[in-house]
């Protein structure tokens, strides 16, 4: 009989066990029953942790707070690019570029695995166009040039933000796209073992989060702090990293 661990008992407690005989085994063993009772009591203890009460009108209060911020453009079911003017296209391109990169990188990774399994130096898959049968060097170059383009756009967004007296929901939307793109590039960099680049991109995320979710409703003091950080630190770091990426001899 397989040893029953506390993890098995946890799954049993939550009704997620995959072994149909487990309940009977626990019930039939004094030791297991005792362990299960102990686990149950401790997990039930968590139920003491009750959130503060919210009144019956909480939903209405939430609605009152958010309604002014629900602009019609956001609820479009179709492609949003139709409504965007040229300036807003830049970050969207960054997001599209990131998605394309992830797709190509994933494909290259799968092809690479096939190649290593068949001990062939260059993966050859029937039916695939030669343009997407990428070597490791190609995916590395693709990542570098894509991130460089992303940093160009970040440079633009950060510069606009640092010099604007106020921010808007449209700017928040742009920052959201940049944040998503940034995360995809970071994951691609991690997957390719480019740890320095991945760490650099990870370091940009907290501010992008703030720009996406907070900047448009921030107090003047907070906005000032964010803009100062962008001006004093981030813009410089983005430009330096971008220069490094454009010089292929420097390792990232």
């Amino acid at each position: 009989m397989k040893h029953i661990t506390d993890d098995d008992l946890t799954l049993l407690y939550y009704g997620e066990h995959e072994n149909p005989e487990l309940p009977a085994e626990v019930a039939g063993s004094e030791e297991l029953s005792q362990r299960f009772d102990e686990l149950s009591a401790q997990l039930q203890g968590m139920d003491e942790w009750m959130p503060p009460a919210r009144g019956d009108d909480y939903g209405s209060e939430v609605w009152r707070q958010i309604e002014p911020r629900l602009t019609p453009e956001y609820a479009e079911a179709g492609p949003r690019w139709k409504t965007w003017f040229a300036g807003l296209m830049q970050p969207r391109l960054s997001l599209a570029g990131a998605l394309s990169l992830v797709l190509v990188a994933s494909l290259a990774f799968m092809l690479g695995r096939q190649a290593s399994q068949s001990e062939s130096p260059v993966p050859q898959v029937q039916g695939l166009p030669s343009s997407i049968a990428l070597s490791g060097m190609d995916t590395e170059r693709l990542l570098t040039s894509s991130v460089s383009g992303h940093l160009d756009q970040l440079n633009l967004v950060f510069t606009q933000f640092a010099n604007s007296p106020e921010t808007s929901l449209a700017a928040a939307d742009r920052a959201t796209d940049m944040l998503v793109a940034n995360r995809l590039y970071r994951k691609s960099a991690e997957a390719q073992g480019k740890q320095q680049l991945a760490r650099f991109l990870a370091g940009l995320e907290p501010l992008l989060i703030e720009l996406a979710y907070e900047a448009h409703k921030a107090t003047p003091e907070s906005l000032d702090r964010m803009q100062k950080e962008v001006r004093d630190t981030l813009l410089f770091r983005v430009r330096v990293m971008n220069q490094q990426l454009k010089q292929p001899n420097i390792s990232t």
Partner: protein
Amino acid sequence: MTSTEQQIIRKAAAGDRVAFRQLVLEHSHAMFRLAWRISGDQSAADDIVQEAFIKAWRKMGSFRMESGFRAWLHRITVNTAMDHLRKQARVKQHESPQPGLEQLAAGASRPKIDIQIDVQVETRAAMMKLSETERAALMLRHFEGHSIKEIAQILDMSATACKQAIFRAVKKMRIELAPLVTT
């Protein structure tokens, strides 16, 4: 999901504010509980709920009816709460350290003796010691009743990784809560 709910969601996805308001009224309390349990802070939870609904409104067009609407909303709430926590952590780096939740979580500000043990406070402190992923996974399983498969989708991770996160969270919570619970 009932056909009435589906109809409301379709209308909201098409930009119908009245329909979206119905969704807000229906899901606000549950979203607050989830946001509060992840953030550990009342006013932060209020902000998270509002932000999550605004994001939901923006993304309504991408919701697919075959996936559960509640799980979809919870995913947005969890992501918003995690972003909020990361932002908070970052802001705190810029500010002078003040006694707060982290200290409470670390046990630094808790008197060690001569106190009446408050299970609620201890549970909250123990929860805050979990990693974000462990906490979110445990919250979604224990309090919201999502299956491991659903939680894996909500947290964008594999079912195995999700299971391991729950196991780790349960082990840590048991260590913290064992002295308070007698069987």
